[in-house]
């Protein structure tokens, strides 16, 4: 199946976005562990919320990936 150059570029961009989001998730894990160590519940919950939002965004990006 042939795909246009635009579709290929979109797919590459999506994969790059997802890679950046996953890298940010790794950072959020370190923030969560830090919040755990210092018993900062508010920070831990904020980190969890952002992390779930990033996961949802990454999953949504998959829709734009060509088959």
């Amino acid at each position: 199946m042939r795909t246009s150059a635009k579709a290929r570029r979109t797919s590459s961009a999506v994969v790059l976005y997802v890679i950046v989001l996953v890298a940010f998730q790794v950072f959020l894990i370190t923030v969560a562990v830090e919040a755990f160590q210092t018993d900062t519940e508010s920070l831990a919950w904020a980190t969890a919320a952002v992390s779930v939002a990033l996961f949802a965004a990454a999953a949504a990006f998959l829709r734009y990936l060509r088959p």
């Binding site: 997802v18 996953v22 998730q25 959020l28 969560a32 210092t38 969890a48 999953a59 998959l62 990936l65």
Partner: protein, 169 residues
């Protein structure tokens, strides 16, 4: 000739010269790769939620009243290490005067390092990032911490035993 005919894929010259198949040639497509990444992101999101729940549950536990040590066993100006409310929660008490005893969580509220008592300065000191807390109240004096030390309520009972009653975070 019709221009819509799909071109027949031609094997590259090296493939014709070396027509060997290897298992490693099975490629992971871009979509599969992205799926693995999203799966990893989901795992990390779940871990973050788990850590948040664990942090919340740990702070809910303020501890049950229990005996810590005899007052007579702690000299004025000296400290006693114990664990409260759980066995993984380091705590420290100091006898400030003949009758006054205070106790705090030993974890610095900055990054969780262990604080120790500096009698000459009458303060709790965190050596990791030079955080300092007041000896009596646990309030921040200087350094990067923004929250006071977790205070543990104490009671000296009639038999001279120091009891921990509960923890404030």
């Amino acid at each position: 000739m019709n221009g819509d005919i799909e071109p027949v894929p031609v094997a590259p010259p090296w493939k014709r010269d070396f027509p060997y198949e290897a298992q490693s040639e099975e490629e992971v497509t871009r979509r599969e790769f992205a799926r693995y990444l999203v799966l990893g992101a989901g795992t990390m999101a779940a871990a973050n939620v788990g850590i948040a729940i664990w942090t919340q549950l740990r702070s809910i536990n303020t501890g049950e009243p229990r005996a810590i040590v005899d007052l007579a066993a702690v000299d004025i100006g000296s400290t006693y290490l114990f664990h409260y409310p759980g066995n993984d929660d380091p705590a420290i008490l100091v006898r400030l005067t003949d009758t006054e005893v205070v106790a705090f969580s030993q974890k610095c509220t900055h990054l969780g390092c262990v604080v120790y008592y500096e009698e000459s300065e009458q303060r709790w000191h965190c050596p990791c990032h030079e955080g300092n807390f007041e000896a009596r109240t646990g309030n921040v004096i200087s350094g990067p911490p923004t929250r006071p030390l977790g205070r543990i309520d104490l009671e000296v009972r009639a038999d001279g035993t120091i009891w921990a009653l509960g923890r404030h975070t």
